[in-house]
């Protein structure tokens, strides 16, 4: 069973949700998931774009009205 770690980056201006996710992915095993909670609308576009570039898997994006939940699975 893969682990899932949640980062609550709501209201975090610096370094920002994507940077937090990149840092967290370095510390988890292949197959594990990172969930980022973000109130930054830009992250709901940036994170899927980066995940596609690097070759991880976008598991899901959920709009919670006021913040987004973005789940990424590490593939390599």
């Amino acid at each position: 069973m893969a682990d899932r770690q949640t980062i609550d980056a709501r209201g975090a201006f610096c370094p920002g949700p994507l940077m937090e996710m990149i840092a967290a992915l370095k510390l988890v095993a292949v197959g594990d998931e990172i969930e980022v909670l973000s109130s930054d609308k830009g992250s709901s576009a940036d994170i899927p774009e980066w995940v596609a570039k690097v070759g991880h898997e976008m598991v899901g994006i959920t709009d919670h009205e006021g913040h987004w939940s973005l789940v990424v699975r590490k593939l390599k």
Binding site: A12, F13, C14, L18, M19, K26, D46, E49, W50
Partner: protein, 379 residues
Amino acid sequence: MAKNVLIVGGGMGGTIVANGMARQLVDELRTGAVSITMIGNTERHLYQPGLLYIPFGRIRESELYRDQRSILDRRIVFHSDPAKQIDVDSSRVVCESGNSYSYDYLVIATGSRLMPETIPGLTEGAHCFYDLPGARKMRTALEEFRGGKVVVNVNAPHKCPVAPLEVTFMLYDYFKGKGLLDKTEVTYTYPVGRVHGLENVANWAKPEFERLGIRYETFFNTKEVNPKEKTVSSEEGVTLPYDLLVTIPPHQGQQVIEDSGLGKGGWVPTDPKTLRRDGSKNVFVIGDTTNIPISKAGSTAHFEADTLVDNLVSLLQHDHWARNYDGKVYCFVETGLKTGTYIWFNYETPPNPSPPSQMIHWFKLAYNRLYWMSARGLL
């Protein structure tokens, strides 16, 4: 019973907490009702933001250091004895000497460390000014540089998020001053899809880069450096040639945090407002050591420390919580060798850089000296 406050870490955050508490607990320290003990890794205190100026010959090395004991209130007990194990279940910290210390309140302020070795070739191929040997080596490389491709390579996570921009603008001015601009191409790489994590800072820096002819490559997470071929490659599939590579390497928290089972990567799960370690009532965490998703910077540690001083003093004197940390961060930003700007923000307010000026640059230079008053809890 005397209450023991134990501070692990003698950097900016730990030192401000120790001195700030000592200044407010005069009677308690005199009567022995409270003791303050600090455990540090070194006898010397380093003003880390000053390292930025070393490669450009803009600060004397002697300005970067003070004897740790000389900046601590004399009533604080200081041991230069690195912590080896932090046991929050038995409220005890064991040090490398074998000595151990119990506490009623623990402050973890162990900071972060540079981890260039996590990227193949980075240590061998790149210059890094985040420690003194690296800053000296970069100074020599700049003195010998006669033009070519310069890459400023930023990795996640790292402390002092504005330093990569600062060193890029300072390099531009340095090359301009040496008449090397027409023979030099500067490229800045950044891990996310804009040139800085802070959107407003990125919106300000991007046109500045374009105005100065500084190239940038976003979505660049370093995969490897080939020092023989002089190339740096990203996870995203981009390879850049370089003649001079300056890196801000990825960071991790300290080994003692991992060895003590307090947090993956050396980052301690921490409440963003109370600064309490998750699951502990009497363990507080400040500075780079927390996993709070805000800047890892001296300024963050400073404002967290101010909050923590108020809370620990209030808890010791009145068993009462004083106030929450509001996420405040204030950073000067050098925009060259002669101008600067600043940003401040908190959990509610985004930053908005003011127009760069010589005056703010001078303020930053002044703060480089005033820092020692901050560390003493006076500013």
